[in-house]
């Protein structure tokens, strides 16, 4: 079975949009200018990208089928994927399918049993209640519950609760019933509900059959961005179940209680929502790298590359939510969304801290129909360095575990251990290093590499609310820049407590935040200086030479 996966043909991606565009390898220019071609901006990879090429934010918000990208943005947004194209995709995927575990079959068997009315007593009986987390006890009738800034609900098309960020799903079943009624009511008219705006609240609906995702937010985010976050939640659920299994379950039994299969994953979803509220990675649709001297990173990447196995598709080394190194199988590209989901999985559980974990995981953007198997382990207890080896073979635990051992050995032999440890001690750099007095913070994303860099958030953004407020400002600028009906290239924002400037080109996106006393002219000269600095530091801040096995 594993052998099938390795047939050369099987790995070819039928959809051209999954591979990065060609013609990126133009001469690197010395001073970045607005006319900079994509692929030559600071941070652009020298040997092609590591990720699936995401040209813009719209790529991320559009439905997963490549065909949708052709349609106009108005049509595209928030619309459920066409059944035909989804079918095609699932067919394509099953052709290049990674090994699908027997899980779907188990469920099928069980559904069949339950139809025959003899479901009990399998060890599977849902027992989520045995492990009450704090949120379960939250009273949904209380004002405190209503005061949360952003609620997220997931329900099935039968109106059954699947997930609620706050409060227990049971207590909310009638609320979710109302939500489903709203969705159905408009659908009966051959229409679709996207959002309700009232009283400072935005209620955003995302329909991804067989699930409906709803957010009730009081944040300043645009509807588009909230929908984007809901999609992340949808992908998170897919990563646990696969699209194929999810659909199969609901085809068999429309009123299935999906919480049974998702038991224990609430923490992962909660964590994802929290992460999205303070990590700009999700907003940028890009990945942040751990600042590391190029020589050290190369040594790490080479060690990782050498510790390969036949079934390995991706080897990822990460620290915190920053990428240290990524080695991939030739012609296979990881989507930033998939990588974000992996980062979230790792940061949401401390159970990986010891031992070696082996878990099925679906990377929905790569292939939503099958599971990979991920070997997750920390290299050393006290060091925040996590190794993630993604394999296609469920049975390959020991082979992959040996890859880890070999990687560690190589790392030791190359003597980069110490340098790596040193770099981990300062996982963020200070904005002061740039040497622009008024500059407080910035986010710079290289579009062709799918990587971004950003300094540590420092004073005056000390408190958590302040940090979130800053991210909120970036979100606002981002949503204006990427507004589907009226996108903007340059935005200058003057606020009471800071000034911001956004600059979006075909090659990069830059958002800077600086002192409220600074002038526009000052900001523009700061941008030029900053771009020069990023160019100078790019081999430390980005991964310029991504490796393949």
């Amino acid at each position: 079975m594993a052998a099938d996966v390795h047939r050369k043909k099987g790995w070819e991606v039928p959809n051209g949009s999954l591979a990065p565009g060609d013609g990126q390898h133009v001469e690197r220019s010395e001073s970045p200018t607005p006319g900079l071609a994509q692929g030559t901006e600071p941070g652009a990879g020298q040997e092609g990208a590591m990720f699936v090429h995401t040209r813009s934010y719209e790529d991320l918000t559009s439905p997963e089928d490549g065909a949708a990208a052709v349609r106009s943005p108005e049509e595209r947004q928030g619309e459920p994927a066409e059944p035909t194209s989804m079918e095609q995709i699932s067919k394509d995927f099953s052709e290049l399918s990674t090994q699908l575990t027997g899980m779907a079959l188990d469920v099928e068997e069980e559904i069949r049993q339950s139809k025959e009315g003899k479901l009990e007593p399998s060890p599977q009986t849902t027992r989520r209640d045995s492990v009450l987390s704090g949120k379960e006890e939250e009273d949904v009738t209380m004002d405190a519950w209503r005061m949360h800034r952003k609620h997220v609900f997931v329900l099935s098309e039968a109106g059954k609760p699947v997930y609620s960020r706050y409060g227990s799903e049971e207590a909310l079943s009638s609320t979710m019933g109302v939500m489903m009624a709203l969705v159905s009511f408009l659908e009966a008219e051959k229409n679709a509900i996207r959002s309700i705006h009232a009283d400072g609240y935005k209620v955003v609906f995302v329909r991804r059959s067989p699930l409906v995702l709803v957010a009730v937010a009081r944040t300043r985010q645009s509807e588009q961005e909230i929908a984007h976050e809901l999609l992340y939640i949808y992908y998170q659920i897919l990563s646990l179940l696969t699209w194929t299994q999810l659909n199969h379950i609901f085809q068999q039994k429309q009123n299935y209680d999906l919480r049974r299969l998702l038991a224990g994953s609430e923490r992962i979803t909660d964590n994802l929502l929290d992460l999205m509220a303070h990590d700009p990675s999700f907003l940028m649709g890009a990945v942040r790298c751990l600042p590391l001297a190029a020589s050290v990173r190369d040594a790490v990447s080479t060690s990782l590359q050498q510790a390969k196995a036949k079934s390995l598709v991706f080897s990822i080394l990460l620290s915190g939510n920053q990428l240290v190194s990524l080695v991939r199988k030739k012609d296979q590209f990881l989507h930033p969304i998939d990588l974000h989901l992996l980062f979230n999985l790792i940061s949401s559980s401390s159970s990986f801290r010891e031992g070696e974990a082996w878990t099925p995981i679906c990377l929905p953007k790569f292939n939503s129909s099958g599971f990979f198997h991920a070997h997750i382990s920390y290299l050393e207890q006290e060091m925040d360095l996590c190794l993630l080896l993604v394999s296609t073979d469920r049975e390959d635990f020991f082979t992959v575990s040996d890859c880890k051992r070999r990687f560690q050995e190589r790392l030791r032999r190359r003597g980069v251990h110490h340098a790596l440890q040193e770099a981990l001690r300062t996982p963020f750099y200070s904005v002061a290093q740039v040497g622009i007095p008024d500059l407080r913070h910035f986010i710079y994303k290289s579009k062709s590499s799918g990587l971004f860099t950003s300094p540590e958030i420092e004073a005056p953004y000390v408190h958590e609310e302040e940090k979130e407020r800053l991210l909120g400002l970036y979100q606002y600028l981002h949503s204006r820049a990427h507004n589907s009906s009226r996108p903007l290239k340059n935005i200058y924002f003057t606020g009471p407590r800071e000034n911001l400037l956004a600059w979006v080109t075909s090659a990069f996106e830059l958002y800077i935040c600086y002192s409220p006393l600074g002038t526009k002219a000052g900001a523009i000269s700061a941008v030029n200086k900053l771009m020069k600095w990023i160019r100078k530091e790019e081999d430390r801040l980005f991964i310029l030479t991504p490796q393949t096995y």
Binding site: T125, R127, S133, S350, T359, D402
Partner: protein
């Protein structure tokens, strides 16, 4: 693991005899070679066959400790019964207090024990109790030499599910797998809903050794693993003049009750 596995990892397949360090070869070789009456897949120290992890340096565990024998032990049971806590208590002598952390997939750890002067490495698979990981855990049942089946004495459902677990074990695990039933969390006497007698009765019905444990207080935790290690060790290196090891009797003799009046 499967036939496929055996064929592929040839380095491992050929290794068992070479894998044993001199000490064990001297004492245990004759015994293992002659006395393996149990079918084609005995629980003998044939770790490297499926244990590619140790292929490079077969007698050195990942923590750098030498060992004579290696066995795979799996912890199974409903979600939240305390499998990970039991393991952490055994491995590190600590209790994971605070919030519930559910295991993702399966978690692999090693611990080397000394049983009657023989160093036994237990490769412990800590499994996730949740339904969606069932298919992964199924795949590892057949390699397990021993299974610790847990329920939570404060949770009736987890006890009721034991029968279903046993059915599953019967279906997927090896015939001669060493099995032990553990009623965990006996420190929470207030919340107990499954009586000790109920556990004993069920265990007797299925002919499985039984004990009550507490990962929090450490009660019987060490014993559960040691008993398993002893049984496996005795099975794999039957010394001619040694009396047969009886797991049931050993457990009965050594087990300690949760209250002060019983023991």
């Amino acid at each position: 693991m499967s036939r496929k596995k055996a064929a592929r990892s040839k380095g491992g397949g050929a290794a068992p005899s070479a894998a044993l360090p001199p000490a064990a070869q001297g004492s245990g070789r004759a015994g293992t070679g002659a006395g393996a009456p149990r079918g084609s897949a005995p629980a003998a120290p044939e770790l490297p066959r499926s244990g590619g992890a140790a292929a490079g340096r077969p007698s050195l565990s990942s923590s750098g400790e030498f060992y004579d024998l290696a066995f795979k032990v799996m912890l199974v049971g409903d979600s939240g019964v305390g499998k990970t806590c039991l393991l952490v208590r055994f491995k590190d002598g600590a209790f994971l207090a605070g919030s519930f952390i559910s295991t993702v997939g399966i978690d692999f750890r090693n611990k080397v024990l000394t049983v009657d002067g023989v160093k036994v490495k237990l490769q412990i698979w800590d499994t996730a109790g949740q339904e969606r990981f069932r298919s992964v855990t199924h795949a590892y049942y057949r390699d397990a030499h021993a299974l610790l089946l847990l329920y939570d004495v404060t949770n009736k459902a987890s006890f009721d599910n034991i029968q279903a677990w046993l059915t599953e074990i019967h279906e997927y695990a090896q015939q001669d797998v060493v099995l032990m039933l553990l009623g965990n969390k006996v420190d929470s006497a207030q919340d107990r809903v499954v009586k000790r007698e109920d556990g004993e009765k069920l265990a007797k019905e299925y002919g499985v050794p039984f004990m009550e444990t507490s990962a929090k207080s450490g009660l019987n935790v060490e014993l559960a693993f040691t008993a398993i290690a002893k049984e496996l060790k005795h099975r794999s290196m039957k010394l001619p003049n040694e009396p047969k090891f009886k797991l049931h009797d050993y457990v009965k003799k050594e087990v300690r009750g949760s209250g002060c009046c019983r023991s």
